[in-house]
Symmetry: C2
Subunit: 337 residues, 2 copies
DNA sequence: TTGTACGCGTTATCAC
DNA sequence: GTGATAACGCGTACAA
């Protein structure tokens, strides 16, 4: 910066004025400065800038499992929006239980002021105890999941009505004996989806409490296991004819189990999912599911975080779930006989 | 830090000595310092530290498409290794052509010294012109792709022998009329795989030049299109009986096209892929493919970058491709008739 | 062994 | 309008 000032025959403060748009500078000098900047291909040192301003435009993105395409899409949304705002996105994998030292990396990072705030993509089963510490260090925005009791701002989609829609569709195809594979009971989304399913079935005249339910952890293997338990429970002539799964990955696992038992999908058992991950439509049969605006959710979470950063004691805006969309494909067919 | 010094009744330098392990400090004072640090829950300001040391332990991860599970796995590997080293991983999506301002974000970032180096996951079709600038600003490590002529260190897998292995498997099942869906011709991996396929077919007595080839861009849609072109070329009785695809996503696209033409997979046409993305084994039929050690590749790339950072003028180590594994599943069956 | 003082590159506060 | 100059929080020669 000194060099630039020298080349332009001005003082460093003038250079700063020009670059930050703060302070009045004569047209002539401004041009000289800009020219010098270009000549020397000068770029401000962000470390120094952050040092002075006590903050760096950097958002932490805590994501449990990038391999889940749904999460990856949210991450992309966050990245896209943030990079437009010239902010860095730092990837944080949460601690693997047991592996961690006494203090979670994420907390250490936020504390060391390398992160201005973070976006928390919970998705995994439980709420890390470190979340409370996190919130004391900077703004935290939740995506995809609500944490009742924490009062944290969140961007989520309308899980409940999505669940209602997909269950209603199953009903409308004539299924009466259904089973539900739910998500982790600790998660808000699991409850919402379950509630949605039950509402739909209830209004179709099916007693919600009579519907067999198994809970998984949103991963494929757990779908396999849950399907096994569910099918074992309903032997004989009143075998389940449709499996309603709380996400796509578990639906895939369920299908795998059904096939391993020589049950055909959808002829013998219909299956639906939730999320609409990219490969859902490439499965055989193409998976009926609920599309969540993953990309958009990521972007909005970032947007929310930035406004929180600019206006620290802003009250979190009214929470309004984003709309979802039922994707009717061919993994649901009328039950036979 | 001043506070800590005061609490421990020592000078700031002593605190610094203790924290960085540099300089000799008496046992007694050391303990006092550590206690004060804990009491005040002090954490060094990384901005200041970076300012002083002219570097921050931060690696940029440039990834074209997180939605591709294969890339996501590599990213996870990078994250895992880096966080063990207390380094941040910054996610960079490359510029979308046309969207960008004159200067790519990535370059700006590296130049502004917020990144100490970066890991380049090319995968996409072309080499950004900004790569050269990048290399001047800090160490760059390539993953999954080699860029001949740049002399950049890289971590890749043995694409060629993997390709040879799948192709050999297709041959061994009795296929003689095969078609190849290759990757972007600008990419090293595409050439390697193509070479591998041809070697295998040649040693099976099939003239490599006679094998129909279409090129895609590693994305699903392009697989669909390529399959269409390939099948159109081989009408009638010598219709292709097996499609060898340079990655899983294109294989999925190809299968989709075949089905749209009422061709059954694998009864009418066998299909193989490359990468072994997680859902490959959940497709119907389960996709025969080549597993690349994605996670490991990410970790090794990070490892390489760190050693380059510590030892700037180290010569890039001998390049040795990581082994891959043929995953035989049921998308390949003997041709009928 | 410990403390003092300076510099890292910026920005903000003041005089001019 | 412009230019000195003092922070920002840390590392580290150097003096004590």
């Amino acid at each position: 910066m000194k060099d630039v000032a020298r080349h332009a025959s001005v003082s460093v403060s003038t250079v700063s004025y020009v670059l930050n748009g703060t302070g009045p500078v004569s047209q002539e000098r401004r041009e000289r400065v800009l020219e010098a900047v270009k000549m020397l291909s000068y770029t401000p040192n962000e470390a120094a800038r952050g040092l002075r301003q006590r903050s760096a435009p950097t958002v932490g993105l805590i994501v449990p499992d990038l391999t889940n395409p749904y999460f990856a899409m949210i991450a992309e949304g966050v990245e896209r929006y943030s990079s437009e705002r010239d902010a860095l996105v730092v990837l944080c994998a949460p601690e693997v239980a047991g592996t961690s030292s006494s203090e979670p990396t994420t907390t250490r990072l936020l504390r060391s002021q390398r992160l201005s705030g973070c976006i928390f993509l919970s998705g995994a089963s439980a709420v890390p105890r470190s979340l409370m510490e996190l919130t004391e260090l900077g703004p935290v925005v939740l995506v995809d999941e609500l944490l009742p009791g924490f009062g944290l701002p969140a961007v989520v989609s309308d899980n409940r009505s999505g669940a209602r829609a997909v269950a209603a569709h199953v009903l409308s195809m004539g299924h009466r004996r259904v089973g539900i594979i739910g998500g982790p009971s600790t998660l808000w989304s699991s409850h919402q989806r379950l509630a949605g399913y039950r509402e739909a079935f209830a209004s179709g005249g099916i007693e919600p409490d009579s519907i067999p339910l198994e809970v998984g952890d949103y991963r494929q293997e757990s779908g396999f296991d849950a399907a096994r338990l569910l099918m074992a429970r309903s032997a004989g002539s009143d075998r389940i004819t449709a499996l309603v799964c709380a996400n796509d990955l578990m639906a895939v696992g369920a299908i795998e189990y059904l096939r391993s038992q020589s049950l055909r999908v959808p002829e013998d058992v219909s299956v639906v999912g939730f999320d609409d991950v990219p490969f859902a439509r490439s499965l055989t049969p193409r998976l009926t599911t609920v599309r969540q605006p993953a990309h958009d959710m990521g972007a909005r979470a970032a947007e929310l975080l930035f406004s929180l950063l600019e206006n620290p004691d802003m009250s979190p805006p009214d929470y309004e779930p984003l709309p979802v969309e039922l994707m009717v494909r061919d993994s649901v067919q009328p039950p036979r006989a």
